[in-house]
């Protein structure tokens, strides 16, 4: 069984003063993957850019460069896609039972068989255990994670437990963090958003030598019974991708305490948020710039997305 979606992701900047040029790069095009087929996808920038280029980045994600060189006071970047998802979340009880220490040791020692990779893929695992810009391997995270990493515990159980603990121990609160918030600050304040939760879980895994990456994407938010879906209220989502020998990269969402299934659409992977922000850019202006408004709609195909 598969589910078909229409996806719209729109970012709008309204500037108080004119902007002469805007250079940007997006990572808002869903990937074609086992369990996820992209039928149509397009990125539209308004005003029309003089220059665009789309290519595949280091992590295999599709990214689009644009350069708007006509003066403007409003910049709108919209991605529209039609995606079919047939991903089935694995049953945690059927996942391989390899202990987390064995995985960590195999990655460190380059034991290809235990890690279930070839020499080339080992490079990717080695990369996924290193700290990165937004994921620092600090004592606060180590202390927080400690109860989960009991000796000999299967890695699958570690993953499920970390996601569960994040969901239950931390509060989801929109606007409580920024891109600069560290994991130590997150733990101290006890509240954050999906990006923070993903970073925390990644840090906990890397601290123990376990490969973990950051996944950027969307989740379909089901409406409460009897009420309309709040269209356009959804945002970019983020979760964790962890290497489990025998199962491959396991996608797990600590914000919702669940393994990723057909309610998710995946955009791309990186070491952390910094590798796959939906939109990054540079503008030329005498003015102050502006805070963006973001609207995301992931709805069953055939429904009318916003607008």
């Amino acid at each position: 069984m598969s589910r078909a979606y229409d996806l719209v992701h729109r970012t709008t900047y309204e500037y108080p003063q004119p902007v002469t040029d805007s250079y940007g790069r997006t990572t808002i095009t869903p990937r074609d993957l086992p369990g996820q087929t992209v039928h149509e996808t397009a990125v539209v920038v308004d005003p029309a850019p003089a220059d665009t280029a789309t290519y595949v980045d280091y992590f295999g994600n599709r990214t689009t460069f644009f350069g708007v060189t006509t003066p403007h006071t409003r910049l709108v970047v919209t991605s529209r896609s039609s995606v079919e998802v047939s991903r089935v979340a694995p049953d945690p009880d059927t996942l391989p039972t390899v202990a987390w220490e064995d995985v960590a040791r195999a990655v460190a020692d380059g034991a290809l068989e235990v890690a279930a990779v070839d020499e080339q893929a080992l490079v990717g695992l080695r990369e996924a255990v290193l700290p990165s810009t937004h994921v620092r391997l600090v004592d606060e995270v180590r202390a927080w994670a400690e109860p989960t990493f009991t000796p000999g515990r299967p890695l699958a159980a570690v993953l499920v437990d970390l996601a569960h603990r994040i969901r239950t121990e931390l509060t989801y609160r929109s606007g409580s963090t920024t891109v600069h918030t560290t994991q130590a600050q997150l733990l101290a304040q006890g509240a954050g958003v999906c990006q923070d939760f993903a970073h925390l879980m990644i840090a906990a895994l890397r601290l123990h030598g376990l490969p973990a990456r950051y996944t950027s994407g969307y989740i379909e938010t089901r409406p409460p019974a009897g009420r309309e879906k709040l269209r356009g209220a959804d945002a970019s989502h983020a979760w964790v991708s962890a290497w489990l020998p025998g199962a491959g990269w396991v996608e797990i969402d600590p914000t919702n305490d669940q393994l990723v299934d057909d309610r998710y659409v995946l955009l791309g992977w990186g070491r952390d948020y910094g590798d796959v922000p939906p939109l990054r850019g540079v503008i030329f202006t005498e003015g102050s710039g502006a805070h963006p408004t973001v609207a995301v709609d992931l709805v069953p195909a055939g429904s009318v997305p916003f607008e």
Partner: protein, 879 residues
């Protein structure tokens, strides 16, 4: 001079000195001693006194050439330190080193290609992946990008030391944007001059061929199909530590020196903002660290780079040298793996050994490092070469334990390295000569360490190594120009005397590829040249006025009621009008580093000393000179080296007089340049200082007039001078001649005005004693043959502006010409109002003055368009 000799010891070719068994030795190897035995006449051997004289001469030359390293908030740019006694290396030894450096460059190139390509070398058996993946120089944004020409690493530099056996040993590679080749060339020029006696006899290999290879290398990598590539040098700006090196290299190679804001990306290409629109750029020689080169794809918020640069590289429309991402090769951990990489990649043994290095990411190596911590230097693997080094033997037990814990926590981030060289540590901590705090050995104070930086450039099928390099010595284990290391020239002595030995060592530049005609300069460069012209003229005007006023002061200040005394008052009022706080702020170019407080002494005595010497107040000579120097430094690539000689002399004249004033000052604790209010001493020493300054300014003017090609840059330089001179002339006439004064006073004022306008002799010859205000106006305003007249300035200004691209404020200048045509000097001189003002003259001069100011504003608006500032797009985190 013992120190100088010891300095040479550390890097010159080793020569056992059996005749001097007691020669001081550090370490157990052969003694390195300066060797002059190749001189045909032993009598030519430089004596310690010769070397001391050469050192003084070299200090002077370096100051005159404006050679600096880094800046200091208080003292401005720091001088480049050079010991002219050369390091001498025999050719047979050098040719082995040359071959080893070529091999090393080829190996590093192969590794770089693989790291951003197939990544086949990234295995635990060859090069552990984490060495690369954990280094911040590994830029994922440029993965897979390729440079035309089949090579990735174009420029490389290697830091070498002598090991205890006298062999060469690499301690690090510089692959990001190697600095210092310009310094090496400058060192050679200076040393060739101050050590001319021995230099002329020496069959020294030339540095020039290296720079020639560099020119060709930059052409080799141009995008396909570009015949005459447009190459620029992307500088990190005048605030960079190696700003001199960058600007000097640009002028040697004939490349425009550009900052990030001079470039932009359109249609997937890089363009330079020219005066006449955009000019395509094909190759960028960068001196900006890669991470800062593109705020879109690399470091967010960087203003040193160009947004979209990575996109342009990806499109194949521009080549960056070295390519973005090349600094990953600087990881000190790589040194541990070069021998086996050489065997695998080149099927050769590594010819040049590196300092023994262990990467702690490897468990066995980590054990070794932790066990031998007291013998080793610990380096963060994630930093550039040598940065953040910890000398294991200087640590306390507690510090060692803490460091060991850090290594255990992130082992991949550390390497241990053997300290090599004669200055290396001895295992026994109590032994002499190991700690950075201890002298090398009793009675032998000398440099602790010496490093030779070599350079190689990939051109054609191989690499060309500079025949010599940049040697630096320091009293510390860490050799860095930032911490006061002293440079030395390196002489590679050819086996056979070069027939051309006496020829100067020059990088062949303009001969090979003349700079493109027409534009080639950015609005930023044009603006700096324009202001250079203005400040040079402003300083000159101020000096001329001050000279006259200081003379008159000495003559008349005790007789204020005399004609001379009253004329003096007029002049002083005119003079201090310049430091009026209400003066138009637009006349100040760069933002001030200091508070702008006009200073005049409180009791009515003019603060002459401050007007000459105080660089912190606008309207002073010292301030104009400092601005002039700053503008010149920002366009060093456009100017001949000679320009900097008079500039240095001017600065020195002011500095000397400032020092003398300080020692004269009664209160020794504070320097208050304006406080010397004793009417008699207020001018002491100023006249000679002003003369020296004027001499220098005249030399600057002479070089501008006779030493520069009449291109667009020159037009702006000249336009600045004309605008400034015209404004100054009109302002001084307004201040001195508008009010009619008694005949005797007026005569003295007129004399002074003529003197300050350099027209006194002409005037006297033309009018003898009959000349009055009308004649002065005729000579200074209307005479088209007087190079000091207003008409002459306006004519020159129009010619300058017509020659530069873009619109010119001709209507304003035509108005000025019309006003001059309508002006009848006799009427202007004699039309006087009831309150004694020459109203016609005042009206005309006022009309002219605002038009001149408006013309200047318009020149700035039309030609010096500053790019709009950039900022990052705000992040959508949780939006």
């Amino acid at each position: 001079m013992g120190q100088t000799l010891r300095v040479t010891d550390l890097l010159s070719s080793p020569r056992p000195r059996l005749d001097q068994p007691s020669a001081p030795a550090v370490g157990d190897g052969p003694v390195h001693a300066p060797d002059w035995s190749w001189l045909t006449d032993p009598a030519d051997e430089p004596t310690p006194a010769d070397l001391a004289r050469a050192r003084d001469a070299s200090d002077l030359l370096l100051a005159e050439h404006g050679v600096t390293y880094g800046t200091d908030q208080l003292d401005g740019a720091r001088p480049w330190l050079l010991d002219p006694a050369p390091v001498i290396v025999d050719e047979p030894e050098w040719s082995r080193l040359d071959a080893a450096l070529v091999q090393r460059a080829e190996l590093l190139d192969a590794v770089l290609q693989d790291v951003y390509g197939a990544r086949r070398l990234l295995t635990d058996d060859l090069l552990p992946p984490t060495v690369v993946l954990g280094h911040p120089g590994f830029l994922r944004a440029v993965d897979g990008l390729r440079m035309p020409g089949g090579r990735e690493l174009v420029l490389t530099a290697t830091d070498l030391v002598r090991d205890t056996d006298g062999g060469w040993c690499a301690v690090g590679d510089r692959t990001q944007a190697p600095s210092g080749a310009g310094y090496a060339m400058e060192d050679r020029r200076v040393v060739a001059q101050v050590m001319a006696g021995v230099y002329r006899q020496a069959p020294i290999q030339r540095l020039g061929p290296f720079f020639q290879a560099m020119r060709l290398a930059l052409r080799d990598v141009a995008p396909g199909g570009v015949e005459q590539p447009h190459v620029v040098l992307l500088t990190s700006g005048p605030a960079s530590e190696t700003a001199f090196d960058q600007a000097y290299l640009a002028s040697m190679l004939g490349l425009p020196l550009v900052e990030g804001s001079d470039l932009l990306v359109r249609e997937g290409r890089v363009w330079m903002r020219g005066l006449d629109g955009l000019e395509r750029v094909d190759v960028v020689l960068r001196r900006v660290d890669a991470e800062w080169c593109d705020p879109l794809d690399l470091r967010t918020g960087s203003r040193l780079g160009v947004p979209g640069l990575v996109r342009a590289v990806r499109h194949g429309n521009v080549s960056i040298v070295n390519p973005l991402g090349s600094s990953v090769l600087e990881s000190p951990a790589l040194l541990a793996y070069l021998p086996r990489l050489a065997r695998t990649v080149l099927d050769q043994d590594l010819a040049l050994p590196s300092a023994p290095t262990w990467w702690c990411g490897d468990a066995t190596a980590r054990q070794h490092v932790l066990t031998r911590m007291t013998d080793l230097v610990l380096l963060p693997a994630t930093r550039g070469t040598g940065a953040g080094a910890v000398l294991g033997w200087t640590l306390s037990h507690r510090e060692r334990a803490e460091l060991a814990a850090r290594v255990e926590a992130e082992p991949w981030a550390w390497v241990g390295q053997e300290a090599v060289g004669p200055a290396g540590p001895v295992v026994d901590e109590t032994a002499v000569g190991v700690g950075s705090e201890q002298p090398a050995a009793a009675g032998t104070p000398g440099p602790r360490a010496a490093v030779l930086r070599t350079y190689a450039v990939g051109h054609g099928s191989s690499y060309t190594v500079m025949a010599g390099g940049l040697a630096r010595v320091a009293d510390d284990h860490v050799v860095s120009s930032a911490t006061g290391a002293t440079a030395k020239d390196v002489w590679v002595l050819a086996a056979h005397a070069d027939t051309d030995a006496a020829a100067p060592d020059e990088a062949p530049t303009e001969l090979v590829s003349p700079r493109r005609p027409a534009t080639g300069i950015s609005p930023r460069t044009a603006e700096n040249l324009y202001w250079m012209g203005r400040y040079a003229e402003r300083a000159e005007d101020q000096v001329r006025v001050l000279r006259v006023v200081v003379d008159r002061w000495d003559d008349f200040h005790r007789r204020p009621a005399s004609a001379g005394g009253r004329a003096l008052t007029v002049l002083i009022d005119a003079l201090t009008a310049d430091v009026d706080p209400t003066a138009p702020a637009a006349d100040e170019h760069h933002a001030s580093l200091f508070g702008d407080h006009p200073r005049t002494a409180g009791d009515g005595t003019p603060a002459f000393r401050a007007l000459v010497l105080d660089p912190t107040t606008p309207g002073t000579v010292a301030r104009s000179v400092r601005r002039l120097a700053a503008a010149a430094a920002a366009v060093r690539d456009q100017l001949s080296t000679d320009t900097f000689i008079p500039l240095a002399r001017i600065e020195r004249a002011l500095r000397d007089e400032r020092a003398r004033s300080r020692s004269r000052s009664r209160s020794a604790e504070t320097l208050d340049l304006g406080a010397t209010t004793d009417a008699q001493t207020v001018t002491v020493g100023l006249r000679p200082a002003l003369d020296r300054v004027l001499e220098g300014l005249l030399a600057v003017a002479g070089i501008s007039a006779e030493g520069l090609v009449r291109d667009v840059g020159w037009q702006f330089l000249d336009a600045g001078r004309r605008v400034e001179r015209a404004q100054h002339l009109v302002e001084s006439l307004l201040a001195t001649l508008v009010d009619r004064r008694p005949r005797g006073v007026e005569r003295l004022v007129v004399d002074s005005v003529l003197l300050t306008q350099e027209s006194a002799i002409t005037f006297r010859r033309r009018y003898q004693s009959d000349g009055g205000v009308a004649e002065v106006l005729d000579l200074l305003l209307l005479d088209p043959s007087n190079p000091r007249s207003l008409r002459y300035q306006v004519q020159r200004l129009r010619e300058d502006l017509v020659a530069v691209p873009g619109p010119t404020p001709t209507h304003l200048l035509s108005d000025v010409v019309d006003l001059l045509t309508e002006l009848d000097p006799a009427t202007a001189a004699t039309t006087v109002s009831d309150d004694g003002r020459r109203t016609r003259l005042a009206e005309t001069l006022d009309s002219i003055l605002w038009r001149l100011r408006a013309a200047s504003d318009e020149i700035e608006r039309q030609h010096f368009v500053r790019p709009v500032p950039s900022r990052p797009l705000e992040d959508a985190w949780d939006a």
